[in-house]
């Protein structure tokens, strides 16, 4: 296990920082992504739960930025002085969440993706300070999942209309969750994260892990997702050729329009529709004080 920056090679440090940055930015940006619908939650009880989730996410971001600080980065600069497009958060949190059904489905499916990634790091990382810090994160994310899945269940059982709202959310969130874990193992050239044992599982293993939670959930709730368990292959298989084009304005996947991973990376790099708005929200207080 590595405890201190003095024990790291330059390559290790670089790979660790890059991984931490994605994690920190993703946790932080989930807060503004969850904000609008949390402040418009349907009941007082759900408002309390949703704000509690935002508090947790801010706290998780805080942890990851603190670890980056220990590696020589400047937290103030990372949070308050970068341009929106410089943030490295997952593309999922560059999207507008426009209904309560989308919010709770994000708790249930996007936070599951975060949980899968971080559980692997907690179990397998060679960087001890991160491993220790993740214990709290895991406990809190458990609640987000429970909150999301409970509400998905409530809405699915409530009426055909609310069930359809959840289905609409899942329709665009599921493929986004699939993309979340990145390129398939066979196509990936940069394996630094695994080589340095910053994480333990490959992209495809993590994707399988995510599907092993989300596909049975969808089946139980009678929601359609374009994936199923294949008995022969003994794994979850997609019912479309990943990756495919995404119409960000309408939140629609064009399943009959396969694209290359270079196109996906380009889409990620040019950021999603809510990126600027979310970063501006987080930076607005800071700017005001500085004036």
């Amino acid at each position: 296990m590595i405890e201190d920056v003095s024990e790291m090679t330059e390559g290790y440090k670089k790979a660790l920082k890059a991984t931490l940055k994605v994690s920190a930015d993703t946790e932080l940006m989930s807060a503004p992504a969850y904000y609008e619908m949390s402040m418009n939650a349907p009941t007082l009880d759900s408002r309390a739960s949703c704000i509690s989730v935002i508090q947790d996410e801010l706290g998780h971001g805080h942890i990851a930025y603190r670890l980056l600080e220990d590696l020589g980065e400047d937290r103030e600069e990372l949070i308050y002085e970068r341009e929106p497009h410089e943030f490295r958060n997952t593309y999922g949190f560059d999207q507008h969440l426009e209904t309560f059904a989308e919010l709770v489905s994000a708790h249930g499916m996007f936070d599951r993706a975060g949980m899968v990634l971080l559980s692997d790091i907690e179990a397998n990382t060679s960087y001890a300070p991160w491993k220790r810090a993740l214990r709290k994160v895991g406990k809190e994310e458990q609640f987000h999942l429970r909150h999301g899945e409970t509400w998905m269940r409530r809405l699915v059982n409530n009426s055909e209309k609310t069930k359809q709202r959840v289905q609409d959310a899942v329709d665009w969130m599921f493929p986004m969750g699939i993309e979340w874990f990145g390129m398939p193992d066979g196509k990936k050239h940069n394996t630094d994260q695994l080589d340095y044992r910053i994480k333990g599982k490959t992209n495809d293993e993590l994707r399988q892990e995510w599907m092993s939670h989300t596909v049975p959930l969808a089946n139980e709730l009678d929601l359609d997702v374009p994936a199923h368990f294949d008995d022969e292959a003994e794994e979850y298989v997609l019912e479309y050729d990943m990756p495919v084009a995404f119409d960000a304005d309408n939140k629609e996947w064009r399943f009959d329009e396969p694209i290359g991973w270079d196109d996906v990376l380009d889409r990620w790099r040019s950021r999603g529709p809510a990126n600027e708005k979310y970063v501006n929200m987080l930076q607005s207080g800071k700017l005001e004080v500085k004036v």
């Binding site: 408002r47 309390a48 509690s52 508090q55 805080h62 309560f100 987080l282 207080g285």
Partner: protein, 259 residues
């Protein structure tokens, strides 16, 4: 659920608790609005915690109000903006951090003092539990105001002047002294409004001692006792924006309420 005659609070007590509850509801709103735009991440985290605490407290106060015969749907989802009895400073969203800090500090502290004065048995334990939350809210405000009083004294003083009249109206008129405060008379509270006003101002005089910030004086005609609305604990008919009422009532997500 309706309360039987024995456990029924006097009407003036119901209004008093309603005003505290609505103030906390709006505190939850304002903390929420600022939980992503504080000057540092720790302030954001604290703001989100405070917001969550306030909603938890509102939930309990609404529960008691419902037992007193107040309609639950009206409380949560069925009200006009002018029917909210929140402290007047919380009607608006503050435009800058020091203003926001003064706005919530004054409102949260005043609400706590009013709550802590209640001596009715329905509040046994509950107010003590709320105090566990409030310690952290009030400490956060005071610690932040200490730093702001040094960095931006003009902004702090301007905000105090802006919000002091409204918060004094929320606490109550100076004429509610010992022997004249109807809540004390009804044995619902154990401290007269006039006493709370004094203690409230004194706190800020001590906090800002040695800084360039002057705390507004207490004047007996603020609020004007003749103009003061006992139900909404304010003067005048100002109110929150419709947009805020819609958020609090979850209007855009009404279809997701599980009956």
């Amino acid at each position: 659920m309706s309360a039987d005659a024995e456990s029924r609070w006097p009407a003036v007590a119901r209004d008093y608790v309603q005003a505290i509850a609505d103030t906390k509801l709006l505190l939850g709103q304002r903390y929420g609005e600022w939980m992503l735009k504080g000057p540092n991440l720790e302030d954001d985290i604290s703001g989100a915690s405070n917001g969550q605490d306030e909603i938890g407290q509102v939930r309990q106060l609404f529960r008691l109000l419902e037992k007193q015969g107040v309609d639950r749907d009206w409380l949560e989802t069925d009200r006009e903006p002018a029917e909210y009895a929140n402290a007047q400073p919380l009607d608006e969203e503050a435009e800058a951090w020091p203003t926001f800090m003064v706005q919530v500090a004054l409102s949260d502290r005043a609400a706590w003092l009013l709550l802590d004065a209640i001596r009715h048995e329905d509040f046994t334990g509950m107010v003590q539990k709320m105090g566990e939350d409030e310690y952290f809210h009030l400490e956060h405000h005071d610690a932040r105001l200490e730093t702001l009083a040094v960095d931006q004294p003009e902004a702090v003083e301007a905000a105090l002047e802006r919000y002091f009249p409204g918060i004094l109206a929320f606490i109550g008129p100076a004429t509610y002294g010992a022997g004249e405060d109807p809540l004390v008379e009804a044995d619902f509270t154990d401290r007269a409004v006039a006493e709370i006003r004094g203690a409230f101002r004194e706190h800020y005089v001590d906090l800002f001692a040695g800084t360039d910030v002057t705390v507004p004086a207490l004047t007996d005609d603020v609020p004007d006792p003749d103009e003061w609305d006992e139900k909404r604990r304010r003067s005048g008919d100002g109110h929150i924006d419709q947009r805020v009422a819609d958020q609090l009532q979850g209007v855009t997500n009404r279809e997701y309420v599980i009956e």
